[in-house]
């Protein structure tokens, strides 16, 4: 098992370099001159040249690519064109904010999603089922940024209960967390429902009922445990979706996290910062995927054997295949 984890961790490295190369290449062809953007249109040619040299913007595509990759090996994501400070420093502080909000949001999403998913699976076709599946479908159809705006309209403008923007106090946390979390809870709820419905039809559930097992034990120990694999998969996917969703949410609620930093940098054509954000987000999603894969083994021991048998040979092909299988 440890071998599997190490191998998956090592696998992240080429993925990160690949992502870095992709993003660099896309942004390389972007129009606009970062030097003019940073120094103003009237900058002298000498100043522009000095700026380009300082920021590592001189040289051909390959020169810059090599510089990026060697920098990445040292954990250096380059310097922001705007502030001329290393991107990594800024990212670390901003990432803490994003992480905190996303963590609360996913907890909210898991609790709401699993609870309502179970309820509507147990009482299929009842009013509760119709209601919660209907609401969930609306939940996934609502654009996250509009949901945020509606929360502001209701709780800040009309009711005047919560501050419309900012980050710090718990009142300021409520709306961003709800805006992010409700969206994931809708997806988690739908998966929980269909997975539970399938499990509840199994013979072992009937056996448990027949032997007079307590209903709550049947639901939690027998049904939910076996229904968990697709739910965990969806939660894993939602984690990456949350990181992306935080982009709009942070812009709406003026929270200075990674998402807003990314949008601001994109607008200012500060491509070094954009690159850094994308690489960081890809790294975090890769780690989260790994954690999800490890959680599988706690829920379904069969997965563990599969990982271990895949890990015996140093074969990335099989490893990727195992990961693919476990990802559904």
């Amino acid at each position: 098992m440890l071998k599997f984890i190490i191998k998956r961790l090592l696998w992240i490295i080429p993925v990160l370099f690949g992502v870095a190369i992709i993003v660099f290449t896309i942004l390389y062809f972007s129009p606009g001159d970062p030097a003019l953007q940073a120094l103003g249109d009237n900058a002298s040619p000498e100043a522009i040249e000095a700026f380009n040299k300082d920021m590592g913007l001189d040289g051909t595509y390959f020169d810059r690519l090599v510089r990026l990759v060697t920098g990445l090996c040292k954990g250096d994501l380059g310097k922001s064109y705007k502030t001329r400070t290393p991107v990594i420093n800024e990212l670390v502080t901003k990432f803490k904010v994003t992480l905190r909000i996303s963590a609360y949001a996913i907890i909210l999403g898991i609790i709401l999603g699993i609870f309502f998913g179970i309820i509507s699976a147990l009482y299929q076709n009842s009013i509760w089922d119709t209601l919660s599946t209907g609401v969930a479908l609306f939940g996934i159809s609502m654009p996250m940024f509009w949901q945020g705006l509606m929360l502001i309209l209701l709780f800040s403008v009309i009711l005047n209960w919560l501050p419309p923007s900012g980050y710090g106090t718990w009142q300021q946390m409520i709306m961003p967390v709800v805006a992010l979390g409700v969206n994931s809870s809708a997806t988690i709820m739908r998966t929980t429902r269909s997975s539970m419905l399938e499990v509840m039809r199994q013979d072992y559930i009937r056996t448990a009922k027949a032997k007079g097992q307590k209903f709550s034990t049947i639901v939690i120990r027998h049904a939910l445990h076996n229904a968990m694999i697709p739910i965990i998969t969806v939660i894993g996917l939602q984690l990456s979706a949350l990181l992306a969703g935080s982009i709009v949410t942070e812009v709406i609620f003026s929270i200075s996290g990674v998402g807003r930093y990314l949008v601001d940098s994109m607008t200012a054509r500060d491509y070094a910062a954009v690159q850094g954000c994308v690489i960081l987000i890809a790294f975090v999603s890769a780690i989260l995927n790994l954690i999800v894969d490890i959680i599988y083994t706690f829920i379904d021991p069969r997965m563990k054997t599969m990982y271990e048998s895949a890990g015996v040979k140093l074969n990335p092909k099989k490893l990727a295949k195992a990961a693919e299988v476990s990802n559904g």
Binding site: I22, V23, M142, P143, F145, L149, M150, A244, A320
Partner: protein, 289 residues
Amino acid sequence: MAKKTRDKNQHHSMVGEVWHQFKKNRNAVIGLIVLCIFIIIAVFAPVIAPYGYDDQDATHTKIAPCREYPFGTDNLGRDVLSRIIHGSRYSLMIGFLAVTISIIAGGILGVLAAFYPKLDNIIMRTMDLFMAIPQMLLAMCIVAALGSSLFNLMLAVGLSSTPQFARVVRASVLSTRGQEYVEAARAIGGSDFNVIVRHIIPNSLAPLIVQATLSMARAIISASALSFLGFGIQAPKPEWGAMLSAGRKYIRQCWWLTVIPGLAIMVVVYALNVVGDGLRDSLDPRLKK
């Protein structure tokens, strides 16, 4: 009697069979009707809309919804209803064409990966790399590189969901490839191209159709989110996301400027989602009786 029912079944084409199942799902049928209404609105937008999308009237600014202006007017005195009607063209077109782009690109890659084991690893690992970047981020970077315009927005949204399509198509083709009729087609000397086009693609379509409908919903949301952030379609074009972003400044005085464009997005996306769910249920052979 038995003979009669068998005959009846034989007359069901695949489309007829799916429609028969689909009809039973009331929500999905409602979704389909809503979708058709929006398509009609989009096609006949200039005829239906009472005003042009950029007709400004300085004497009628920020009017709350009333009989003359059912959805109110914005800060420049433009009729919001007319803008919503014109805006439906953008959302539907972006949704449809972005998905078409990702079906074509993802389809070709997926078929190649499934059919030629040598290419499989290269294509799928590259797709994995692209999937490591959240879709929205990838679309943002592509739009930044290409510059913001309607076509580039569609291209960015379409390309960013290509890896998912490549995966679905590959999985679907892999399961079809082993079937006897494919072997038979090859045995009688069918070329690769012939086998792929005549036998594999038609039989792998079901999951692709479902994926396409649900992806269209997601594409519409991504495109409007990008426009909202200022990377997509720019003012004064009446794209719903751009309208939301412009109306956001007036959230304290004019609630209708933030509520209505969002509702429009939600209704279209909701319709697509229920239709997608309905299609999935009716195409799933396990649920057929």
